[in-house]
C-alpha cells in the first residue's frame, strides 16, 4: 500500500476502534454513521473522477438504486438483507455498464450533464412509481442487517460495521491504485493517446471504473436503508449528488484520503454550524439551518478558486512548509552557536 498510506490506514483503524469510547451519544454516533455512508460513496467517486478523470454529477442515482433495491426486496418480498444488497450491486453493475458505454464516449460537460440527467430521472421514478417505491411516502419495515445471526441493533454496533466497510473500501481502493489497472488509469489521465498506443483500451477501463464506483455507491445506499429501516426519495435528489461532488472536490479530487476528508468535513459541517450558531446568537446573528446550502457553496467556491487540489493536499503542503521552516530556524541556530564557538 505504500508507507505513508499504511500509516494513514492504521490511524483510520485505530480511530474507528477507539471513537465509540469517546462518543457515546446516540445522536452523534448516528451522524458518524451517515458520515461513513458518504465516505464510501466518495471513495468510489474519487476513483472515477480523480483517477479515471470522468465527471459524474449523478452518483446519487446509484446510491438510490442500491437503497431502493435493498428496501423493496426486503420489505416487500422478505429477501435476506445480504442477498438484497447483492442484488442491488448486480443491478448497478448492469446499469452502469449500459449507461457507461455510450456516456463515457462523451467528454467533459456532456458527461456531466448526462449523469445529472440520469440522476434526475431516477429521482423522478422514485417519486412517481408509487406501487414499486412507495412514492413520496417511501418504504417502511426495512429490516436490520444481521451478521451470522447476530442482529445489528444498536448505533454502536452499526458504527463499527459501517466503518469497517469503509476501511475495506479504502483497502480495495489503494490496492487498485497501486496495481497495473491503477497505473493504466493514471496513464489514461495523463495522455489518452499515449495510453492507447501502449495497448490500454480506454473505453473499457473507463466503463470498468464507472461500474466499480457504482458498486461503492450501491453498497452505501443499501447500508443506509438497513440503518434507517425506512427510505423515501428525499435524500436521493440531485442536491445530494452535487453534495458528493462537493465533498470530493473540497477534500481532494485526486486522492483517496482527500475524498475521505472532504466527506468527513462536509458531513460534520451541519453539526458544527448549528453549534456555531449558538455562539453567533451572542453577537445577535441569527443563523438558520437554511444557510447551510450557502455555506457549502461558499466553501466549494473558495476551495476551487484558491486551493483547487483540495484540503488534503493543502494540509500536506502546509505541513511540509512548517517542517522546512523549522529546519531553517534550527539550521540557523546551529550555525550561530558554531560561529560563537569558533570565536
Amino acid at each position: 500500500m505504500g508507507g505513508k498510506n499504511s500509516v494513514g490506514f492504521l490511524a483510520l483503524i485505530i480511530g474507528i476502534v477507539l471513537l465509540p469510547f469517546f462518543v457515546t451519544n446516540d445522536y452523534y454516533l448516528g451522524v458518524l454513521i451517515f458520515t461513513a455512508f458518504n465516505c464510501l460513496a466518495c471513495i468510489g467517486l474519487c476513483l472515477l473522477m480523480g483517477y479515471a478523470g470522468q465527471i459524474s454529477i449523478g452518483h446519487g442515482a446509484f446510491i438510490a438504486i442500491g437503497a431502493y433495491t435493498s428496501g423493496i426486496l426486503t420489505s416487500k418480498f422478505a429477501w435476506s438483507p445480504w442477498l438484497a444488497m447483492l442484488c442491488g450491486i448486480l443491478l448497478v453493475i448492469v446499469i452502469a455498464f449500459c449507461l457507461g458505454i455510450p456516456a463515457l464516449r462523451l467528454k467533459g460537460h456532456y458527461l456531466a450533464m448526462a449523469t445529472l440527467g440520469f440522476a434526475s430521472i431516477v429521482h423522478i421514478i422514485a417519486v412517481a412509481a408509487v406501487d414499486l417505491t412507495g412514492g413520496p411516502s417511501g418504504l417502511v419495515n426495512i429490516p436490520r442487517l444481521d451478521l451470522f445471526g447476530y442482529v445489528l441493533n444498536s448505533d454502536r454496533q452499526y458504527f463499527y460495521f459501517s466503518w469497517s466497510v469503509v476501511a475495506l473500501g479504502v483497502y480495495i481502493a489503494f490496492n487498485l491504485i497501486n496495481s497495473r489497472v491503477g497505473r493504466g488509469l493514471q496513464a489514461l489521465h495523463g495522455s489518452e493517446d499515449a495510453a492507447s498506443s501502449l495497448g490500454i483500451n480506454i473505453t473499457s477501463y473507463k466503463v470498468q471504473i464507472f461500474m466499480l464506483s457504482a458498486v461503492f455507491a450501491s453498497i452505501s445506499g443499501s447500508l443506509y436503508a438497513y440503518y434507517m429501516n425506512y427510505i423515501d426519495p428525499g435524500p436521493f435528489d440531485v442536491s445530494h449528488s452535487v453534495l458528493l461532488i462537493t465533498m470530493v472536490a473540497v477534500g481532494g479530487l485526486h486522492n483517496i484520503w482527500g475524498a475521505m476528508i472532504g466527506a468527513i468535513v462536509l458531513s460534520l459541517l451541519p453539526e458544527f454550524l448549528s453549534f456555531l450558531s449558538d455562539y453567533l446568537q451572542v453577537f445577535g446573528i441569527e443563523y438558520q439551518p437554511d444557510y447551510d446550502t450557502l455555506v457549502y457553496g461558499g466553501i466549494l467556491l473558495i476551495i476551487m478558486l484558491f486551493l483547487p487540489e483540495g484540503i488534503f493536499i493543502g494540509l500536506v503542503k502546509a505541513i511540509s512548509f512548517i517542517k522546512a521552516s523549522i529546519k531553517k530556524v534550527l539550521g540557523k541556530k546551529f550555525s550561530e552557536s558554531g560561529a560563537d564557538r569558533v570565536e
Partner: protein, 301 residues
C-alpha cells in the same frame, strides 16, 4: 361555427402548452450557447438566472408594487449584474482552467445562488400577476392564456434581436469572431475578455427574461433552477451546441414532445421525458439535429 372534435382540441392544447414550455427551454438554451460560444464552458448556473429573474420580478411587482415595465427592466439589470459578477469573480481569475475545475466552479455558483434564493424568498412558490389579463382566450376550442401570447411574442423578439445583434452590429460580430477563433480575434484588436463578460451578461439577461415571463404561469420557487437548466441544456444539445437558432427550434420541439408525452403517456413522468430525450441525443448524436460531428470533434469539450 363548427368546432372540431375532442381529439383535435387535445392536440391543439398540447401544442400550445408545448410551445409555451418550449419557448422557455429555447431561451435557456440560447443563454447556454452564448457562454459556450465565447468560453467553451457550460454554465451550470444558467437555470439559476431564470429563477432569480422570476423571484426578483415577483418581489418588485407584488411587494413593491412597481409597474410591470419598470420592474422588468430592473430585474433584468439585476440578474445581468449577478451574471457579470459571476464572470469577474469566479471565471476570469482562474489561472488553470481545466474542464473539471470550471464545471465545479459553475456548480458552486449555482449552489450559492440557490441557497441565497432560498434564504431571501423562502421555500414556497411565488405568484406573480399576469402581464395583461389572466382570462384564457378561446382558440379553435383550445384555451390559451394571454400570458402565453406574451411568451411567444417575447421569444420572437429575442430571436429577431439575436439575429440583428450578431449579424449587423459591430459588437455582435466581434463576439462571433471571438467564438470562432479567439487568438485571431485578439490579434485583430478585439478585447476577448470583454466579450466573455458580455456573453455572461447577455446570458444572464435572457435567463432573467425567461424567468420573468413564465412565473405568472408556473409560480416560481427557489428549486426550479436545476430542472430548467437541464432541459435548456437538452434543447441546446438537440439543436447543436453553439447554434442558437437551432436551439430555438429544438427548444420548442422539446417542449412539444414533452407536452404530448405528458398528455398521452403520463403526467407524473413529464419531466423525465425531456431528460430521456436529452440522454438519447447525447448518446446517439451529440452534435444535435443541426450540428456536424466533424465540427464537434474540433471543439475541445
Amino acid at each position: 361555427m363548427n368546432y372540431p372534435d375532442g381529439t383535435f382540441v387535445d392536440v391543439l392544447q398540447f401544442l400550445i402548452m408545448g410551445i409555451q414550455r418550449g419557448s422557455i427551454y429555447a431561451m435557456v438554451a440560447m443563454g447556454f450557447n452564448m457562454i459556450y460560444n465565447s468560453t467553451g464552458i457550460i454554465n451550470f448556473a444558467q437555470g439559476e438566472f431564470v429563477v432569480l429573474g422570476g423571484l426578483m420580478m415577483v418581489s418588485l411587482t407584488m411587494a413593491f408594487n412597481l409597474s410591470i415595465v419598470f420592474a422588468f427592466i430592473l430585474t433584468v439589470l439585476f440578474v445581468i449584474v449577478v451574471g457579470v459578477l459571476m464572470e469577474r469573480l469566479t471565471i476570469n481569475p482562474v489561472k488553470e482552467p481545466t474542464v473539471l475545475r470550471l464545471i465545479i466552479i459553475t456548480i458552486a455558483v449555482s449552489i450559492i445562488i440557490k441557497g441565497a434564493a432560498m434564504c431571501f424568498w423562502g421555500k414556497g412558490s411565488h405568484y406573480m400577476r399576469h402581464f395583461s389579463s389572466s382570462e384564457s382566450l378561446d382558440f379553435y376550442g383550445a384555451t390559451i392564456l394571454p400570458q402565453t401570447l406574451w411568451i411567444f411574442a417575447i421569444l420572437l423578439f429575442l430571436v429577431v434581436a439575436y439575429v440583428i445583434f450578431f449579424n449587423y452590429t459591430m459588437t455582435g460580430k466581434c463576439m462571433r469572431a471571438c467564438a470562432i477563433n479567439r487568438d485571431a480575434a485578439r490579434l485583430a484588436g478585439i478585447d476577448d475578455r470583454k466579450m466573455v463578460m458580455l456573453s455572461f451578461a447577455l446570458s444572464a439577461g435572457i435567463g432573467a427574461i425567461a424567468g420573468i415571463i413564465i412565473t405568472p404561469i408556473i409560480q416560481m420557487d427557489y428549486a426550479r433552477g436545476a430542472m430548467l437548466g437541464l432541459k435548456g441544456f437538452g434543447a441546446a444539445v438537440l439543436g447543436g451546441l453553439g447554434n442558437s437558432m437551432g436551439a430555438v427550434v429544438a427548444g420548442v420541439l422539446l417542449g412539444v414532445l414533452e407536452a404530448f408525452g405528458a398528455g398521452y403517456i403520463s403526467s407524473h413522468y413529464m419531466d423525465a421525458i425531456a431528460l430521456v430525450i436529452l440522454l438519447f441525443v447525447l448518446f446517439i448524436k451529440p452534435s444535435g439535429i443541426f450540428g456536424s460531428s466533424e465540427a464537434m470533434r474540433l471543439k475541445e469539450f
